[in-house]
Amino acid sequence: MQLSKVFIYEVFFAKVLFNLKAEAARTYLGYVWWILEPALYVLVLYLVFGVLIDRGTEDFVVFLLCGTIPFLWFSKTIANAASSILDGYGLISAMPIPKVFFPMVVVFQDAVKQTFVFVLFLLFLVAYGVSPSPHWLYLIPVIFAQFLLIMSISVLVAAITPFFPDFKFVVPTGTLLLMFGSGLFYSYRVVIPEHHWDTFLLNPMANLINNYRLVLLDGFSPDWAALFFIMLGSLACTGLILIVLNRFDSTYSRLVIQ
């Protein structure tokens, strides 16, 4: 017996919606936190880098936000997805359910919240004195490429953790390492020797952050070739893991339940 395709999508979106609702219900301020949390974050960065440490470069705060806001989206979702299949114990022990369901719920749930963060970010830019431009529409393909990247890495870490629960402890260290390698706080054009630029940009997160800055700071169009390869690679990776998850579905059930 297999759930029909239509039903599984219905369950999926119901689950994303209910999770968002339940998450909000667990705090006093509820949905306000979707805005408040990133707002506090932006405020801290502004106080530290815009007021206390005045770097002289006027757009340093914008430069930082272009790096940290996308990176936080990435690292949070990966951290949430890592144990998602194991956390699905309740459903897995009671129903036959494709295991990819669990990391995907996390990815969509976080993407919904991230939409609000991006809106807030753009509002901040306007308040900070950056004039809005039609160029900002270029953000859409950049954000979409990042969504696909996050999806593929989320599904990957979720697929590894049931086999090696210890992997959960490696994920935060891995994202920390990636953070330093993604140029959140520095411009690779300044810090890294020119003959290493290409290598640096092989890191998809570094590449995406570079693209966010190209669009928002420099007013250029994004690096289309890079975006294309990130999307293609992410989709291929997701597809491959999907095959593995389906092939070993029963093994995953046993790993989670026992």
């Binding site: 119901a14 219900a25 309740g90 790993l255």
Partner: protein
Amino acid sequence: MGNLIVKADAVDLSFAKRRRVFGRERFQVLSNVSFTLNRGETLGVVGRNGCGKSSLLRLLAGIYQPDSGVLIRRCASVSLLSLTLGFDQNLSGRDNALISGMLMGNSRKEVIRKLGDIINFSELGAFIDEPLRTYSAGMRARLGFSVAVTMDAELLLIDEVLGVGDEQFRSKAMHTMTERVTSNQSVVFVSHSKYQVDALCDKVLWLEKGKVMEFGDTYTVLDNYHSFIDQSKNLVV
């Protein structure tokens, strides 16, 4: 043969025990299990703790696939009802009922249409909108039973849930089960209660350490099972 809903032929199931990073030890949960269930029949599964009853139900639900042997299920929808219910602790009872109902193979519309019946049957009242982590074990069982009974599945798998809840709900559940069993519902029923198995089941499968000790009519198998239990009790004393 056209009347068959489940046919298990020499089914094996094993789990990997985690020992070291490399090298896993396997242990056999079910070995060489064979039985059949006809449409509309109720099969009782008895055996001591850890004999593989719950794993057998999960196998029938499609959560596990057998390592070897053949398991044929001729049904469009299966619903498994157990004490470790498929619920999300953070969602409300209502949302959980909706998700479970849909996962049993029903559309969102269908479940929403029957949600009133589910809530009525569960008698949870205003608690239905509270998160599940605030529920007692009895309340969880009520909700699970109500969903499974209201969203009729072709094959109903029941894992020792008729023994929970208060006296009043238990007798209501038992009454509904009896009604279902006498109608054309196919059921596999795991229970430690001799009385319930005797009252509800057409056939009984007796498992011991993952192997079939006996499979046959309720009266004979139950009788042999209980004299076996009495014997092992005497050995301990």
